[in-house]
């Protein structure tokens, strides 16, 4: 029977099913499991895992401390390099970072479970709320941090440690940025993002102002005048367009907006879920929206990606996760048309793609069709939008992102930047944390000269 109207509704699954589907993706290690896993670490010289970690955590060092039951010391080893070590333990694509570098891959193809061990060590600190860091003597300086995501909070925490006062200007209702609004719910259960924010702020010296936006409530020029330094960790605020007709159909939505709604929902079963869903994109966001839709009760979820599995931004683990959750991934296809019937059901026309002799992507006239109640756009975000426009004017940009030097300094004196909004930002929490940390250290040096 042909479908006559789109099927988008709540309560596709009951609460018990939702709870099961959105429980911890990687359940934490029990103590005995952690001790056995810690014993597998070879304590390598100049450890490749540490080199592979964007924040340079001394991984063999923290694992050895787990082994000796020195859990606080272990957490300190992690958090002193990466104050979001707790979140990174949950969301880092470890299989392409530390765990890929583990030497155990060479002879047994089974790396030490570094991510889970990191979570084991850090969970205990967040449970007890033990403060591991002290602030240096008051410098008398005050820094403005724009954005409360991983880059901004990492920068703020390091600045506070170094003795500076910080004001964090946050666009959203709650601090945390993508950790709070943009990560799949089953990766950060039990309100961990806010617990981590609370821990970070508990060092003192950091004021957070919510619901204020650069270019709307304040300007960069004002911040430069009022504060001793400025850090921009503003992320990528707007979503890339598909570039086809009818993109403004009601059933065509931004994946990140839906993920944010999902993360903020008190009752996920109350979220409207389409029966058939098509996701366009190949990164983590595409996987997150596809898998979560499936776990909310969508019957059919298709991902459409214009290139092959090797080019997907999502790691192998994420791609497998989608497939084991019943998501179908169509490679080498792009949307070329969108149509909706009277009932709102969308038909998306997909053109098959390939590479020409120069390695450039081309779209053939050979097309196929998928039906969807909702089409999610997950083809990346960009910095520029109308509100920010004038604010970005003085900054050197490249491909729409802010250019920074190796100390995260922008082209404007006294302004640093990091995270997804800068050239080199790679959509990873761990990289954003490192940017914030490097910037804070550079700012401190500048503020003290």
């Amino acid at each position: 029977m042909a479908k006559t109207s789109s099927d988008i509704r709540c309560n596709r699954l009951n609460k018990a099913e939702i709870d099961r589907n959105f429980g911890d993706l990687h359940p934490p290690l029990a103590r005995s499991e952690a001790l056995i896993e810690a014993d597998r670490c070879y304590f390598c010289y100049d450890a490749p895992c540490t080199t592979a970690c964007p924040t340079g955590i001394d991984i063999p060092g923290f694992i050895q401390k787990i082994r000796s039951n020195n859990t606080h010391g272990s957490a300190h080893t992690i958090l002193r390099e990466n104050i979001m070590g707790g979140m990174c333990a949950r969301v880092c694509p470890t299989e392409v970072l530390c765990e890929e570098a583990c030497v155990r891959n060479s002879h047994e193809d089974k790396p030490v479970e570094i991510g889970l061990l990191q979570r084991y060590a850090t969970d205990r600190i967040f449970e007890h709320g033990k403060q591991l860091f002290a602030r240096a003597a008051d410098s008398g300086k005050k820094v403005a941090v724009v954005g409360s995501g991983p880059a901004g909070l990492s920068c703020a925490h390091r600045l506070a440690m170094l003795g500076h006062d910080v004001i964090v200007l946050n666009r959203d209702r709650k601090p945390g940025g993508l950790n709070e609004y943009g990560i799949a719910a089953y990766k950060t259960v039990d309100d961990f993002a806010q617990r981590e924010v609370d821990y970070i702020l508990s060092i003192g010296g950091i004021d957070v102002v919510n619901d204020v936006e650069l270019g709307v409530n304040f300007t960069l020029a004002e911040l430069r005048e009022k504060y001793d330094a400025v850090f921009l960790g503003i992320g990528l605020g707007s979503v890339n367009e598909l570039g086809v007709d009818n993109e403004d159909l009601p059933g065509v939505k931004n994946a990140i907006d839906y993920i944010a709604d999902l993360r903020q929902a008190d009752d996920m079963s109350a979220l409207p879920v389409g029966r058939n869903i098509v996701v366009v994109g190949g990164g983590m966001t595409a996987i997150d929206i596809a898998v979560q839709s499936k776990r909310l009760g969508a019957e059919r979820v298709d991902i459409v990606y214009r290139r092959g599995p090797e080019q997907m931004g999502a790691s192998d683990f994420e791609q497998n996760l989608a497939q084991t959750n019943g998501v179908t991934i169509h490679h080498w296809a792009v949307p070329v048309g969108l149509m909706a019937d009277a009932g709102g059901t969308i038909t998306i026309e997909l053109g098959k793609t390939g590479l020409d002799t120069d390695g450039k992507l081309n779209v053939s006239s050979d097309t196929f069709f998928l039906e969807a109640d909702i089409v999610f756009k997950a083809i990346g975000q960009k910095l520029a939008d109308e509100k920010l426009g004038s604010e970005l004017k003085g900054l050197q940009l490249e491909h729409g992102k802010i250019v920074v030097d190796e100390s995260q300094a922008t082209s404007i004196a006294g302004v640093w930047a990091g995270g997804d909004c800068v050239v080199g930002g790679d959509d990873l929490t761990v990289s954003a944390v490192q940017h914030g940390k490097i910037a804070a250290i550079a700012m401190d040096r500048r503020l003290r000269t």
Partner: protein, 433 residues
């Protein structure tokens, strides 16, 4: 299949694995279970005078664990049997009657006066047991009362008590030695001089397991107070092997049969003891950690090993490695080895480099042409085997003899003739060559 039948002092058993005198051999119930499982023999838990001793009613054992709770070492403060003598004698008689093909030896510990030995030894022998084992080894509790290790630490006492026992015993007498001495040879010689038919070793090593990190008392305690115990399990095996080898290679004790004890957990450990001069082996801790079923691997593994070596029986293995044990002064100082890292097997963990760099001879490089790479620097390598010892990959680092040319470290030519410390020019006590 190699023949595992063992004959120790004329006592036959279907295999050379006996349960050592300890909690697993405290009563008929356990020993019957052990024999059903296939153990070749058992040394009954030490009998003493009536009335029996008492044990504490709290922790008797504690363990040194790996992080996955594997027991590496074991500590105990249990004393000898706490059951009435007659109960034990009745059970020993019945067990020997039920299992005539198994070795059943009775451990005894008696005060240092001849009358007591004269009184109890015939009573025990009357059970039909195959031999006595004199417990001069227990380092805790009984030693405070002048028995156990208190005897084993004084060669004259060993000889005296052995003589008292031999005077009345008609079955073989094995003397069990304590490792809590600086040199094992005098106690072994004293046993031999006292007429012992064999020695068994080692008993447990004086030990305190650890501290309780909450109470900062020793661990474990009995109502807040603790006492040292005896250490055993795989951690003590190297100590035991040295003592067995010392007795085997010393002229005045080399002819006394040895029953090897100390940390035997699998058949390879048994091979160690047998090759270093023991004629059979006794086991306790491994059974206390895993139960009696371990006998399957012990017999099976030993049998396969003997087959692989083309040996027909256990006796061909006994003492095989003894000629390779000597004093340091006789080691060939002209022999040169260098470590070699198999680059195909290397996983680049770098542990060889860092231990050599930090604690030895700076003889392993960590990079080549800017790439992570670990390779031995022959100019610096003294052949110490540290890198091979810490390498997590089996056979990745091997020690290779340098048989000709120049030793890159010393710049001296390799010579084939042997030369040791006794003739070395740096030795002020050298003999003229």
């Amino acid at each position: 299949m190699a023949d595992l039948t063992s004959e120790f002092l004329g006592i036959r058993s279907p295999n050379p694995f006996w349960l050592a005198s300890a909690p697993p051999t405290d009563k008929a119930y356990n020993v019957n279970r052990a024999f059903e499982a296939g153990w070749g023999g058992a040394v009954w838990k030490t009998l003493g005078e009536d009335p029996p001793i008492v044990n504490v009613n709290g922790p008797r054992y504690s363990a040194l664990h790996s992080n996955d709770r594997r027991v590496i070492g074991f500590n105990n403060i249990e004393l000898i049997t706490d059951r009435p003598l007659q109960t034990n004698l009745d059970e020993i008689r019945q067990v020997k009657r039920d299992w005539p093909d198994r070795a059943l030896v009775v451990s005894v510990m008696l005060p240092m006066n001849e009358e007591t030995w004269a009184k109890y030894v015939p009573m025990i022998e009357d059970t039909g047991a195959d031999a006595f084992e004199l417990n001069f080894g227990c380092p805790h509790g009984m030693s405070e009362r002048g028995m156990g290790a208190a005897v084993g630490q004084v060669p004259e006492y060993i000889q005296m008590a052995t003589e008292w026992c031999k005077k009345v015993a008609t079955i073989p007498v094995i003397v069990k030695l304590t490792p809590n001495v600086t040199n094992i040879v005098p106690p072994a010689k004293a046993a031999k001089d006292g007429g012992a038919d064999a020695v068994s070793l080692i008993n447990t090593v004086n030990s305190i397991m650890r501290v309780n990190y909450d109470t900062l008392t020793m661990y474990p305690t009995t109502d807040g107070m603790g006492t040292h115990g005896g250490y055993c399990g795989e951690a003590v095996k190297p100590i035991a092997l040295n003592m067995v080898a010392e007795i085997s290679r010393t002229a005045e004790t080399s002819d006394i049969p040895i029953s090897g004890i100390g940390g035997i957990s699998d058949w390879r450990d048994a091979v160690d003891f047998l090759a270093l001069g023991a004629s059979n082996v006794q086991i306790c801790t491994a059974a206390m950690v895993y139960g009696f079923k371990i006998i399957d691997d012990l017999t099976d593994g030993l049998s396969s090993f003997l087959d692989d070596k083309g040996m027909q029986s256990v006796y061909e293995l006994v003492g095989k490695a003894v000629p390779s044990v000597t004093d340091w002064q006789y080691l060939n100082l002209n022999h040169v080895e260098k470590a070699h890292i198999d680059q195909d097997l290397c996983i680049e963990c770098g542990r060889c480099h860092i231990v050599c760099e930090d604690t030895s001879h700076q003889a392993i490089m960590n990079s080549r042409n800017g790439e992570r790479h670990f390779e031995v620097i022959d100019d610096e390598c003294v052949g110490c085997n540290l890198c091979a010892s810490v390498c997590p990959v089996d056979s990745c680092i091997t020690m290779r003899p340098v048989t000709d040319g120049i030793d890159a470290r010393t710049g001296k030519p390799i010579v084939t003739e042997k030369a040791n410390w006794t003739t070395h020019p740096n030795n002020p006590m050298r003999k003229d060559g």
